[in-house]
Homo-oligomer: 164 residues x 4
């Protein structure tokens, strides 16, 4: 956190602090070689190289690892407001295969956020190449903070809201 | 394969042989502790215990591991006709969390198959308990056999078809 | 409503009364020639003949009219507990075309219901023929009754619940 | 069509000619008060006022009419290359209700196109207001032209392709 009262600075600092807290707790993805390339309120860009142990019986990257990468980008984007948020639904279109040695990039962007739910688009590309999968995820906010923040500006103390 | 000409026996034997061939090649899922509990033409039941390394930052089973299990059940179901088949789309509703020690079961059932595409429903449950996720996957058949089969009955030599 | 205290009879009577109330208010679908063939708690079967004004530029039934029929079956199924419920998401796979003179049937079945949300599968078939579309709809309950019911058994006075 | 050989001009002229041909044949949507506000290769913007006969039992615009508008924008976008193309799947998130007198706008944008399939995002907004629904549609090209075009530049005589 910063000592300024600029809400934009605060929002970016909060997004980064939430990402750090979430990352440190996530045993499932730490071993997969992912990196966080960019984080912002409602947005995240992550990357992951395709390793030999990620190949399926067709010798292409198993869809489950594309899912894990996209899901992580989604999680960092929708938890960037320091409100614990989970996926309630996910729709995926697989467009092309990825191969050993490709570096996959997943970019998550918020399309809508209202009450407790949001919609995020996550585009998975081969770095420097084609789009391999499109994800659209629905988020649902549960009533717990990602990090306990003291001295947080009132704007972040959003009251619990019902879906409209 | 069997030496009988009963098409039902043949179809079941082919489903089992395809499952064995696919399993032996799938480096991505072999380490996850999955078992194949039942296989039949267009159907599969798989299970997997939730391990500590499958937990996410909310201390529940990461959705990516539910995806990996459901995707495997889907793959065994839609490859059971010995035609290489991949997922072209996937829709998921996450209903409830799964926890450490739960045994997850994924049951894949064919809802439709026509030309090169099919639709499969995969229900993921905690063994002896509640349903935790519903998957609906779309399959697309590529023109390669899972296993090279000699003496296969003509019914299995389905000609390449266009989608209607 | 009935004068019995049998909860199953009550549930069926409530489903029928909710369907009647919803139907009488729905200006959008009354002109489309739909009939309610069966109604039960969490289930509905509706039918609709394909008319000339439902054909699209490909001379097959416009997907929008399949949607209207499936959506009505969904609405009767998920409003059958006398709690106003709307669709929050819908996933459709179109499998085959329907033609002029076909009678379409949409059968809605509840797959999951918990807190304020539910998941329903709606299968659209040509009567006596093939399946033409598969819908999976997510419901969200808003806090209003479909019909004001006096003397309703306490089981129906479900308290407002949060999503888990 | 124009007498120039500029492929961009040709592509735009082809998009407009395809839209006109499709519109003239579409009995289902002509009576709904839609207008085509913009058309371009892979894109379309359409609008439609919410009328009293489009209201459902909750007194808001029936989702089926949002579907019809979004589906039309999708159809004009994906048929803009003069290849008959239909929806094979559709995923919808309903975000907010629309009311009597609102003018709905649906903007369709191509996200991916490869072989016979494509993915399109269609955003439905109240004019001058909020987003009410997000659609993601999958297209499948059938082997017929929307309009018979003479003297069409070779670039438009795309050979039939398989999905990769």
């Amino acid at each position: 956190m910063t000592d300024t009262n600029d809400p934009l600075v605060d929002a970016q600092a909060l997004a980064e602090a939430s990402a750090n807290a979430l990352w440190s707790r996530d045993r499932a993805t730490q071993g997969l070689g992912m990196t966080i390339d960019r984080i912002a309120p409602g947005q995240a860009l992550m990357s992951m190289p395709v390793r030999p142990d990620m190949l399926n019986g067709h010798d292409t990257c198993h869809g489950g690892f594309m899912f894990l990468l996209a899901d992580s980008a989604f999680a960092f984007a929708c938890n960037s407001y320091n409100r614990n948020t989970v996926a309630s639904a996910c729709h995926i279109d697989f467009l092309a295969p990825a191969r050993l040695g490709d570096v996959l990039e997943a970019e998550a962007i918020e399309r809508s956020r209202s009450g407790r739910t949001g919609v995020y688009d996550i585009t998975v590309r081969v770095r420097g190449g084609k789009t391999v999968a499109l994800f659209r995820d629905k988020s649902y906010r549960i009533e717990v903070q990602v990090i306990a923040v003291q001295g947080l500006s009132p704007a972040h103390r959003e009251p619990a809201q019902e879906r409209p």
